[in-house]
Amino acid sequence: MRDIGSKGAPVEVLLVEDSPGDVRLTREAFARTNSSAHLSVASDGVEALAILNNEPPHADAPRPDLILLDLNLPKMDGREVLAHIKDNERLKTIPTIILTTSAAESDIAKSCELQANCYLSKPVELDAFENLVKSINDFWLTKAKLPPQNGPV
């Protein structure tokens, strides 16, 4: 286990998001909140899985400490990406947070059934968005103990 952020090791966050505006907001909010968070971005589900499985051209992609996953994505949607992560022995331990504009009960129920670690609704206002990123940082990168990088011991 590592002490996230306190010993200079960057914490790797994978954001799976197709909206360039939301990518930018998330990047800026993380930059202001936690300078040791390193954000990688996949803009669709296929790219997300390629990064997670270290397929070319992502052979050197680091294993994320935390995944922020939108539900509605091109090529392969977030539900399928989530199912893949949580069905895979090597990937299932990575905390995967659903971050989506949808607040539909069916999306929440489905995501929880697929073992998303938590479900967050993306606010439309700038301040609320930044607050949410701060909350993610405060809980997941400060309070929670994340799994060791090398998976199960």
Binding site: I94, E113, L132, S135, F139, A144, K145, P148, V153
Partner: protein, 180 residues
């Protein structure tokens, strides 16, 4: 006795914890954090599963909105309780947070492998305990969208549970008095 409508509007937290001191701290910290939380306490793994399956004395137990689970418990330990929850079709969507004194990487990895929603180390100091409970309240009970209680909600809050307002079960009561 709480009426049905009032009970429905509460957030039900199930704490699975055998240490009377920690139970007391959690009750006080949650009471201070929010008046809309009902904290239910089961003191070992067997009782936790009975509560979740509404068996015996727990026939009217509400479906918890979130479970805070210690790892080291008498009878059935927390890992087994977690595996039971996450392998059960009706229970697996309930967010289950591990709250343990252990910071052992094996315990952390095993918990995530068993699909714990998150893992938190239980602090030893009261102030840090309060801060942790506040952050559980702020994040999990205010920011996170919890799944609907798809399982039928119970008709009423049973009177024999360790909630913050109703009396403790005789068992945990006597244990708390013995130790505190």
């Amino acid at each position: 006795m709480t009426d049905v409508l009032e009970n429905e509007s509460y957030t039900h937290v199930l704490l699975v914890e055998d240490s009377p001191g920690d139970i007391r701290l959690m009750q006080e910290a949650f009471r201070d954090a929010s008046s809309s939380i009902r904290l239910h306490v089961t003191c070992d793994g067997v009782e936790a599963i009975a509560f979740l399956n509404r068996e015996g004395a727990h026939a009217n137990a509400p479906r918890p909105d979130i479970i805070l689970l210690d790892l080291n418990l008498p009878n059935i330990d927390g890992r087994e309780v977690l595996a039971h929850i996450k392998q059960n079709r009706n229970l697996k969507s309930i967010p289950t947070a591990i709250l343990s004194i252990s910071e052992n990487p094996t315990d952390i990895a095993t918990s995530y492998q068993l699909q714990a929603n998150c893992y938190m180390a239980k602090p030893a100091e009261w102030d840090a305990f309060v801060t942790l409970v506040n952050s559980i309240n702020d994040f999990w009970l205010n920011k996170v969208k919890l799944p609907a209680r798809s399982f039928a909600a119970s008709p009423a809050l049973p009177g024999n549970l360790c909630t913050s307002k109703t009396p403790q079960t005789p068992r945990s009561d006597s244990r708390i008095e013995r130790k505190l």
